[in-house]
Symmetry: C2
Subunit: 459 residues, 2 copies
Amino acid sequence: MTEPGASALERAHSRRDASLSQLREFLRIPSISCERSRSGDVAAAAEWLAERLRALGAERVTVYPTGCHPIVYGEVLTAGRGSPTVLIYGHYDVQPVSALDDWETDPFDPTITGNELRARGASDNKGPMIACIAAVEAVLHAGPMPVNVKFLFEGEEEIGSVHFREFLEDHRDLCGCDLVLNPDVGMLGEQSPTIFYGLRGMYRCRLRVTGPSRDLHSGGYGGIVENPIHVLSALVAGMHDGGGRITLPGFYDAVREMSEEERSEMATLPRNEADYLAQSGAPQLWGEEEYLPAEREGARPALDVIEMRAGSEKAAIPAGASAIITVRLVPDQLPESVHAGLEAYLEEHAPPTVRWEITEWSGFPALLTDRASPGVRAMADAMKAVWETDPLFYRSGGSIAAVGYLKEILGVDSLLTGFSLPDDRVHGPNEKLHVPSWERGTDAVIHFLYSLANELRTD
Amino acid sequence: MTEPGASALERAHSRRDASLSQLREFLRIPSISCERSRSGDVAAAAEWLAERLRALGAERVTVYPTGCHPIVYGEVLTAGRGSPTVLIYGHYDVQPVSALDDWETDPFDPTITGNELRARGASDNKGPMIACIAAVEAVLHAGPMPVNVKFLFEGEEEIGSVHFREFLEDHRDLCGCDLVLNPDVGMLGEQSPTIFYGLRGMYRCRLRVTGPSRDLHSGGYGGIVENPIHVLSALVAGMHDGGGRITLPGFYDAVREMSEEERSEMATLPRNEADYLAQSGAPQLWGEEEYLPAEREGARPALDVIEMRAGSEKAAIPAGASAIITVRLVPDQLPESVHAGLEAYLEEHAPPTVRWEITEWSGFPALLTDRASPGVRAMADAMKAVWETDPLFYRSGGSIAAVGYLKEILGVDSLLTGFSLPDDRVHGPNEKLHVPSWERGTDAVIHFLYSLANELRTD
């Protein structure tokens, strides 16, 4: 640990309450990107962030409009041209809060109980963003910057980073860097800091099945016209076999199997069946039995219908039924191939009593990153300094489109980590943040910035 | 035809425009019984009806409050004690208009195009009610009443006649009658007046499947926790076999088979596969091939999931998924037995990855009525006089709880008919009424009132 590091940590510790207040202010803005009526709130969150970056002393702070929600940029390049540059990625948009009844507190009125800060976005991703901002603020306050820092915050992560790719293409120089720090993943436990070296990709579409030309009285047509809800149900049910494997034609053809070495390592990870059971609250786990849950999460594909919506209270056979299907992809599956497999499945299995169509499909592939890079070494050092234990290396089951775009367009790897815990109820009701882990996260980012300078200096 | 009949018909014809205006006024009230926010409108429709009955000259006109929507009563007993009494049943509540986008005109702004009057409730059941009121008005105006008439209009037919039974139990004398005229069914075609001698019964419940204790991030748990949407889909899909038969244990045990005589008659009915295809707009029909569509409609049970609702746009495995299941029952199926069969099915087929529960179940059995009663003869005479053809006898696939309650509590049969056509889009968007059939309906009710007096006099 260098002297400026100690001083930065002191600064960060003295400002913990202030940072927490800032986070709470940020969480009060309901920046739900998928709801049109919230566009104003999403924009307000972008402006709030820009204001934070300006207050910190960042330069060239700009809120860039896109076709939908803006992107916020700012930079602290005082380390100079000879020093490495790390780009800190984050997203200030949040998931919706559909099941409002299940929230014990107002999702946009951040509430602290013991060590928990409860609010939509607390873990995903506003808390980790504020931890990074607080770390840079402390390092900047403590003395000369060890590395250059750029901030790049988008407002469309939860809706597939629709305009992020285009923005990167248009701003290659602005975003140029040696490494991306992405704190949008998490850690496996309070005492298990984690670096993620894999992300699953994503295929997403809407499937619509239509039968009669209008809703039909179920008395007049029950038993005579096949109900699109029943057809869609059968199609969805048939997408898995009894062993949890996906039945779409060719689905597993491109799936890269793990090496024996990787499987051995995965078997030692401190996240077992009991953890998944406890954290999910499911009566029993499910899936491909020949793989451990951690393997199924990170290295095996998964198909989920996330929404099905059809009919109404009225006694009618509805004209149609629709579902949103998502597939978490693993290396080397391509969204295009999964799409083709789904179409082949529907052609084979949809009965002649209905018509079907797939609309709005999109996707991006899975990613594996280099576990031996200087950035990873720097973060491992930092984590060891803060948690006094080596980080775990894990494949995330999640999907972050932005990571792929940053690799593809800027040619840079993302260092995937985070300070949220597996039971933080990310995307669900009562999302929360474990405040002590979040505070350690700030410390870890401070350490990381100094370690990264050392790593890249000795390279 | 007696003289007063001719005079009543003249009166009705001279008031056709006035009756149509009244109907349009009635249709403007959005009396959707299943939507709490519409309670005021439902009450307004009841008051409107009461006012109509008073204007007609009915006595003891009362809007009876119930635990939910009121019941409207009125009577014209001037025929005297020695004359038969017919109770005219109707319901002034309507189905919701959920798929508003599919309506070509405002469902509560009645629109006339050619012979069609388009509005929610035009056919089901406001049009037929106004036809009956207009008929009684005309008969009353023409001279002495041939029979006594009672009006009984409920506001909860579309939600299962929740308080109708209790009302009948509390008002047995008030509602006492020789026969019920129920114009809530319809006719098989413009030139095919129809008397229905069967109604299917109804079983209805909500099935809820729950898996994890909260919505789970589909990246973190996809492939590890079974998705309740998939489970519910498989359960729904498994409720039918490939031949359109329902697989619930014991489901067909009590089903009464049709006689060969009845099947022969059904085979001659002028409603064939092509009619069902054209009227439904389905690409292909479906169901038990060993029965004709008309047999499947009236004499075979049908199971339909009318609503399935689960998940949201957010990338999560939802904590639960639910469906509303309805079963149209035939003689001699009991709702209790179907419920037990559904429970047995779920016990056998629901996987250990979820919990399930059935809530809010209710039901009532199917009905067959006497085709040789004086009331049926009187209506057959009336229809022959108006359409110059004998009526068809048909089993309706629909379900009207009130008919069973009237039989059970008052001991009276309902004469089931109506003036709506199979393509009237009842319960669907763009519901309409064929105005000439509706006008003939008024004439038929006028004839019926006189014929009924004759039939019962000669008995």
